[in-house]
């Protein structure tokens, strides 16, 4: 880890915070009564969750016939929503794992909430394949276990089964990673609490005491889990794209799908993180920890992945034409100009054209535009999945089977219901656990706090870490801070 701070870096923690103030600020939402806005949002979310339960019960009672799928278009909103939610669930692990490996300090402000979002989004995603089975209670059949049917095993060659393994592994690893990071912060909450609260947080914080050896193993664990989660996060959406790419449907069996899906997943995931964080920083008063610098960094990722997705769309069209294969050409012509042309326009507008406004720093750092775009992108990415699934199926090989599909109220209610599930879980999370990783924020305070770097730094007179002394790599992170707190402590190497 480099101790050098580039002058271009802006502070990631503002308000001249001390360690204790950080604890106070981030623990406060778990210790005070919820605000009226939280209560109202929570009630709405729980009502939507009720709608989810009702529409799922309806589906199970009446049967999948209550959906408007037909023999031509046999995958509709269910798989669209599944892929959309899984995609959203990619940002959390990207932020916590890949950005950890790249030593991006800004991830510390948003990783906790983004990982929570990942876990809840994957839970929402998992609902759709389960409901689509029709007989929910037989869902256990998807796992290979010794059974009385032979034993008859599942088909390990099927991408749908790969999905089962990919999603459940991703969920488990994300949960373990998230919780391992949460344990020290839950201990912080425990040590401030009294009575029953202290007991509860005592159990969930696993008895963490901050011992040096524990921290060493904790850092080692985080790093290795990040190393494991990085290929995992890329594999999950790759495997989701295999659901389509390994089929023999023109418009689906393209080799570009895995990278295109992964880029799209990061794109939509970051948009959802921004939607949530812009609200959370306001409602929970975390403006000092989730700064414009964080928002701008995420907007840059959105700009990059949005452009990758745009290139992928155009590449698809080009390859369809260049292949000289008439069915492929028709599939893409139909995608752009067919009966679902409106969803293609929506997708192009929301995903490719509109994110380009982020080239402007003014817009990239504007809260209004960021919020507006984050919603816009999520709509666009939903359209992308719908375009790929419904448009392609609506015009298959037999013109006599061509069809058009509009979702029934049950399908619409299930989708809106998963939004209720997602927000209910997220709102509960903001009340019971620190939304920002307290320990990790503290560890970057002296290299990213605004009293140490940036235009408001109070320590410029002492900032002499460019004075030619060699500082051992292990303590480099402290060297910037040491110039402030102890005069002369930085004048000699800390060895």
């Amino acid at each position: 880890m480099s101790g050098h701070i580039a002058p271009v870096r802006q502070p990631l923690i503002t308000g001249h915070k001390t360690y204790h103030q950080i604890t106070e600020d981030i623990c406060r939402p778990t210790e005070t009564a919820p605000s009226l806005s939280w209560v109202i949002t929570f009630i709405i979310s729980v009502m939507l969750l009720g709608l989810f339960a009702f529409s799922v019960a309806w589906t199970v009672w009446i049967g999948i016939g209550s959906w408007n799928l037909n023999r031509t278009i046999n995958w509709g909103w269910d798989i669209t929503n599944f892929v959309w939610w899984v995609g959203i669930g990619h940002a959390g692990t990207l932020i916590s794992a890949i950005l950890l490996l790249f030593r991006q300090k800004w991830r510390t402000g948003v990783n906790r909430a983004a990982e929570a979002m990942t876990i809840f989004a994957v839970m929402c995603a998992g609902q759709f394949p389960l409901i689509h089975m029709g007989r929910l209670w037989l869902a256990i059949f998807i796992f290979p276990y010794p059974n009385t049917r032979g034993p008859l095993w599942v088909n390990f060659n099927s991408p749908l089964l790969w999905d089962v393994f990919a999603i459940s592994t991703y969920f488990t690893v994300s949960l373990l990673f998230w919780y391992a990071g949460l344990v020290p912060d839950l201990a912080t909450v425990r040590d401030r609490a009294v009575g029953l609260r202290k007991k509860i947080y005592g159990v969930v914080s696993f008895g963490w005491n901050g011992s040096a050896k524990h921290w060493q193993r904790w850092e080692s664990l985080s790093l290795i889990l990040a190393g494991l989660a990085t290929p995992l996060v890329l594999s999950v959406h790759t495997i989701v794209s295999f659901d389509f790419a390994t089929s023999v449907i023109p418009g689906w069996h393209t080799t570009i799908f895995p990278p295109y899906f992964v880029a799209g997943a990061i794109f939509s995931g970051f948009a959802m993180v921004l939607t949530l964080m812009l609200i959370a920083r306001k409602v929970l008063h975390l403006e000092d920890y989730i700064t414009i610098e964080h928002i701008e960094s995420m907007n840059k990722v959105i700009l990059l992945t949005g452009s990758i997705v745009g290139v992928a769309y155009l590449t698809e069209l080009f390859i369809a034409w260049y292949s000289g294969y008439v069915y492929e050409q028709f599939a893409f012509l139909n995608r752009v100009l067919g009966p679902y042309y409106w969803s293609y326009i929506g997708m192009m507008l929301c995903n490719v054209l509109s994110p380009q406004i982020f080239w402007s720093k003014k817009i990239r750092t504007s809260l209004f535009w960021t919020f507006f775009m984050s919603i816009f992108i999520n709509i666009g990415m939903w359209f992308e999945r719908f375009v790929i699934i419904a448009t392609t199926l609506s015009r298959d090989y037999l013109p006599s089977s061509w069809s058009y599909y509009v979702p029934s109220w049950v399908e619409i209610c299930i989708f809106i219901g998963t939004l209720g599930l997602f927000f209910t879980l997220f709102l509960i999370f903001t009340r019971v656990a620190p939304v920002v990783a307290i320990a990790e924020i503290k560890s970057i305070l002296k290299t990213a706090g605004d009293q140490y770097i940036g235009p408001n730094a109070v320590a410029h007179a002492h900032a002499n870490h460019a004075n030619g002394h060699t500082v051992p790599a292990e303590v480099n992170d402290l060297s910037a801070g040491s110039t402030v707190d102890i005069d002369g402590a930085n004048d000699k190497p800390l060895d």
């Binding site: 604890t23 034993p151 095993w153 390990f156 060659n157 391992a180 401030r192 008895g207 040096a212 707190d485």
Partner: protein
């Protein structure tokens, strides 16, 4: 220089919420610990302790302090070895199981492909490798640290998970002279408060 206060019973620090000191625990350890308000002071203090050949029992911090491990003589964690072993088991188990099912237990031809269709086994093999490595390593992490629901390891002070950096000495078998020596050491290294507490062994 910071004020030195040896915490005895009800004399809790004005700025610090402290637990009552000297809780009697049969067969417990007597711990003398100092709280510092900055990690740089902590690192300097640990170096001073090493120079004075003082035997630090443990150091507790609110966040991982880089540069502390070599000073305390902590070896690099071998968790990655556990991760590798569990990952290898997952990899072999996944691939071996699919091989057994499709070549021995119930061979089925799917789409005219060979029974043993290795490329199709790769996604699940990979996922199981990651799953086993992660679950195994996290389990090992909690076990070797003695952490888990209901675990009650030594907790010296409530502010250690907040903003105080703690150096602890085991003074169960120490005489007054060596305790005095430790007090002087704390004073010299800019400690904020010094406390004494009996904890379970």
């Amino acid at each position: 220089m910071a004020t030195i206060r040896i915490d005895q019973g009800g004399d809790a620090g004005a700025s610090l919420r402290t637990e009552p000191a000297n809780t009697t625990v049969t067969g417990g350890r007597d711990i003398l610990f100092g709280l510092y308000d900055d990690e740089v002071k902590l690192l300097e203090a640990v170096k001073a302790a090493n120079a004075d050949h003082l035997d630090i029992d443990d150091v507790y911090t609110p966040f991982p302090v880089h540069g502390l491990d070599p000073l305390l003589g902590l070896e690099e964690s071998r968790l990655h070895v556990a991760g590798f072993i569990f990952g290898s088991i997952g990899c072999l188990f996944g691939f071996g199981f699919m091989t057994w099912v499709f070549t021995r237990d119930w061979p089925i031809i799917f789409g005219g492909k060979p029974y043993w269709s290795v490329p199709a086994f790769i996604p699940i093999t990979f996922e199981l490798t990651v799953l086993f490595a992660a679950v195994g390593m996290v389990t090992v992490f909690y076990i070797i640290n003695g952490l888990g629901p209901g675990a009650e390891p030594r907790r010296l002070h409530d502010r250690i998970t907040d903003d105080k950096f703690c150096i602890a000495f085991d003074v169960t078998d120490s005489d007054d002279t060596s305790i005095d020596q430790l007090r002087q050491y704390f004073e010299r290294t800019g400690v904020e408060t010094v406390h004494r507490k009996t904890v379970a062994a």
